[in-house]
């Protein structure tokens, strides 16, 4: 009992209590609506379960949310991630169709396209002093245009099993996108928490002027986070493209920036910048996907989807807000006396 209480305290200190509670409640709803949903079965060396399905589907949002966390932690925002997905997908699809390059190189080039797009965002913001929301809005519009030009206005489809593997492949029983999320999460945790980069990112977001006074290379840090966000978005784009074996410049990753920002915010990172958590951002993505699944499974007509989603998300955010918590506490006090 004591250990449990200590665990609760630790979760609360890290801001994980409410996101995890929300996730648990949503899963409870799913379980009530469909008791067999989470059951694990093994077929053809592959693990099947509703749980795996949720993880797999949330992968693109989770990948982008990881990069978005770092951007938001510096006090910025990246609206262009969906468009960057389209660019990376278009680059890869065209190379698969039009060249004999090995798949690994094609993936590398696709990621580089994302990095270039991210660095362009960063240069506009750091070099020209354009507000992040405006600078990345430019690429949100222009990026899809570039992807459409690359695809010559068509949806480029391809047959390439090696490339398709990153979207639909199975490794050790689990779908490849799940492994990619775990890999990127581990890599980014190492990159930011294994070094001092994470501390610098939080310092820049918490007080950019004081950070500059302390000798932190504020501009390079900002440039770096947009570059990382670009790579994450490109990887999500490659996954989505491999999934349907085609590059659809118009629709891939459409509105995904909103889900990714939401995932970061549900994870407790303030849009003002400062403290962030990559793990909680991934949990945020999981909450969004679980919610989508729960609404479909509970048999509520689809027209209610968006409204229910908003209500639940407002609930999670309210629980996290310190203002709401203070008011709840005073209400509890008044009721108990």
């Amino acid at each position: 009992m004591n250990g449990l209480r200590r665990m609760f305290a630790a979760l609360k200190r890290h801001g994980a209590l409410w996101p995890l509670t929300a996730l648990g409640l949503i899963w409870l709803v799913i379980l009530i609506a469909n008791p067999g949903f989470f059951a694990f079965t093994v077929q053809d060396g592959r693990l099947f379960s509703g749980f795996i399905d949720i993880l797999n589907r949330c992968a693109p949002v989770a990948l982008i949310a990881i990069g978005m966390s770092l951007v938001i932690a510096t006090g910025g925002i990246d609206l262009s991630v969906g468009a960057v997905m389209a660019i990376a997908g278009a680059v890869a699809a065209n190379l698969i169709v039009g060249s004999d390059l090995p798949v690994i190189l094609i993936v590398g080039i696709g990621l580089c396209a994302g990095l270039a797009a991210g660095l362009m965002n960063g240069t506009l913001i750091v070099g020209l002093g354009i507000q992040p929301i405006v600078a990345t809005l430019i690429l949100l519009v222009a990026g899809r245009g570039v992807a459409q030009l690359l695809n010559d206005g068509q949806i480029i489809t391809f047959q390439n099993e090696a490339f398709a593997f990153i979207g639909v492949g199975i490794l050790l029983g689990l779908p490849m996108p799940i492994w990619l999320v775990l890999f990127i999460l581990a890599a980014m945790l190492f990159l930011t928490r294994g070094t001092a980069l994470g501390m610098f990112i939080e310092a820049v977001g918490a007080n950019a002027s004081a950070s500059r006074h302390a000798g932190i290379p504020v501009r390079s840090i900002k440039l770096a986070v947009y570059g990382i966000a670009g790579i994450c978005a490109a990887l999500a784009g490659l996954v989505a493209t491999a999934d349907i074996q085609g590059a659809d410049a118009n629709n891939v990753g459409l509105w995904i920036e909103l889900d990714a920002i939401l995932a970061v915010v549900i994870g407790g990172t303030s849009l003002m910048g400062g403290r962030y958590s990559l793990v909680l951002a991934v949990i945020g993505a999981l909450i969004i996907q679980s919610l989508n699944t729960a609404i479909v499974l509970s048999g509520i007509p689809p027209k209610f989807n968006l409204v229910i989603k908003s209500v639940v998300i407002i609930g999670v955010l309210l629980l996290q807000s310190s203002v709401a918590q203070a008011q709840l506490a005073s209400l509890r006090e008044r009721l108990s006396t």
């Binding site: 918490a206 007080n207 002027s209 004081a210 006074h213 302390a214 000798g215």
Partner: protein
């Protein structure tokens, strides 16, 4: 001037903030048809007095009367309705609206329920005539110079049937010609019976325009004086809280270190465009150089230039006899120069980060992000600093914004001492901190000198400067006007140099 019934009077007004008495039972009168200058160094209580007067921050105690009616504004709007208009240093109008809209915002002339543009523009032109401004009132405010925007702000304030006009540093962003226009207008407003409260740090302007002067210091009123009867030297004494005593004592004898080696820091003819002009100073290892001068004399700007926040347009900075080009704080730190900035909140602490992180961050920044300081070392570093500086914090993981001002200042000092700089710039290190922390920081300055560090310290307090300085550089209007050495470093000497 004959003693007329005051237009505005404050009696025993008190305002406390946690840990500070910002206004300590202050009395203050403004007569009709007078320009009343409100003077004092930073933290003297000027802004608090204005905030209390304009309803931005209600008083804790005391009485206020305007035109013999009791006055207790709870918001800026209420104060305006009562007849107190305020124009701030930063123009707070709506730059994308037209001049006429700005002037008549909230009371636009209407016709059939819609804004009557023709009449509005006509009324606006009429108002501005009084200010000798003949401009196209239908153009957006942002298209005009700051001076004109300032005049529009004043016009708006006066237009609202004001009895008292409060001007907070109105001339800070104006050039000489624009200041003249503004003063002409203020004189004619004075002739119309308005009481004008004028806050500025330009003493020339005080003497040019004001009828009476009230000096505040550390939240207390030092006195109200007729401008004509108060010599400038006397005024500066009141502001700095020191009376000329005609003695030369008070300076602790400092061992002179000259001639032994190259200077740790040598500045030769440093200029920054639009800021400091021709500053030259030398600091040997183990010496503390005091920067003296009134608010706005360029003390902070000298520190900014030495730390690479502003780039030199002429002159040079040498470290140990070798010229160094410093264009950024990183460059300064690479040359072993550190700065504790004046504005702790904006430029010093990183509020959301913990005490430990705030202490380790400069050292970490110098090592580079790819070579993290192990957590254990960070804890040792922070633990030692907390013990040495007696930083009052329950634990080192607490966000630094929750600490008091004095403890935050110690955290920033600890941050810089962790990188063991050769040259340490301290910009007003004792401002806004309690008396205990104050003494500790002064003792620390002595210790750092003994350890062979070169220090550049700015301070508004003469007593402090005399206590620790090997040399005092006196600044006025961004220029260096005197360098005091040895026995010449006395409170009298500094004061006379400032006032000369």
């Amino acid at each position: 001037m004959t003693a007329t019934e005051p237009l505005l009077s404050l009696r025993g007004v008190r305002k406390e903030f946690p840990g500070v008495v910002a206004l300590d039972d202050v009395d203050f009168d403004v007569r009709p048809s007078e320009v009343h200058a409100l003077l004092g160094e930073n933290g003297a209580g000027k802004s608090t007095l204005i905030k209390v007067l304009t309803g931005a921050d209600p008083r804790d105690r005391g009485e206020m009367w305007l035109d013999s009616e009791s006055l207790s504004p709870r918001s800026v709007g209420e104060a305006q309705a009562a007849g107190i208009s305020t124009v701030y240093q930063e123009v707070n109008l709506l730059p994308n609206l037209s001049v006429a809209q700005n002037l008549l915002l909230g009371r636009e002339p209407r016709r059939f329920g819609l804004t009557d543009w023709k009449r509005m523009n006509a009324e606006a032109r009429e108002t501005l005539k009084r200010f000798r401004l003949d401009i196209d009132v239908s153009r957006p405010l942002s298209q005009f110079s700051v001076a004109i925007q300032q005049l529009v702000a004043i016009a708006r304030g006066v237009d609202q049937k004001a009895k008292i006009l409060v001007l907070d540093e109105p001339t800070a962003s104006l050039d000489a010609g624009e200041v003249e226009i503004l003063f002409d207008i203020l004189r004619s407003l004075r002739a119309d019976g308005l009481g004008i409260i004028f806050v500025t740090h330009f003493l020339d302007q005080v003497y040019e325009l004001s009828d009476r002067i009230t000096v505040l210091r550390n939240g207390q009123k030092i006195g109200t004086f007729n401008t004509a009867a108060l010599p400038r030297a006397k005024l500066i004494q009141h502001m700095l809280g020191y009376e000329l005593q005609g003695t030369t004592a008070g300076h602790a004898p400092q061992t002179t270190l000259a001639g032994t080696k190259d200077a740790a820091l040598e500045v030769d003819g440093a200029c920054v465009h639009g800021s400091i002009q021709n500053i030259s100073l030398t600091a040997l290892s183990g010496e503390a150089i005091g920067l003296a001068g009134l608010l706005g004399s360029g003390r902070t700007e000298v520190c900014r230039a030495l730390f690479g926040l502003d780039t030199l347009s002429a002159g040079k900075i040498c470290r140990n006899g070798i010229e160094v080009g410093i264009t950024s704080p990183r460059g300064a730190i690479a040359n072993s120069i550190a700065l504790c900035p004046e504005d702790r909140k904006t430029n010093g602490i990183i509020g959301d980060l913990s005490v430990r992180e705030n202490i380790a961050i400069a050292l970490q920044a110098r090592r580079g992000w790819w070579r993290p300081i192990p957590l254990r070392e960070q804890r040792t570093l922070a633990g030692t600093a907390i013990a040495n500086f007696r930083i009052a914090t329950p634990d080192m993981e607490k966000p630094v914004r929750l600490l008091s001002g004095g403890n935050q200042q110690k955290v920033i000092l600890a941050r810089w001492l962790a990188i063991e700089p050769d040259v340490l710039l301290l910009d007003e290190p004792t401002r806004g901190i309690d008396i205990g922390a104050h003494t500790e920081i002064l003792r620390l300055i002595q210790q750092l000198c003994d350890r062979g560090m070169a220090l550049i310290v700015t301070s508004s307090e003469l007593e402090e400067l005399v206590a620790f300085s090997h040399r005092v550089v006196v600044l006025r209007d961004f220029r260096q006007i005197a360098v005091l050495e040895g026995n010449a470093i006395t409170e009298d000497g500094i004061l006379q140099a400032i006032a000369s």
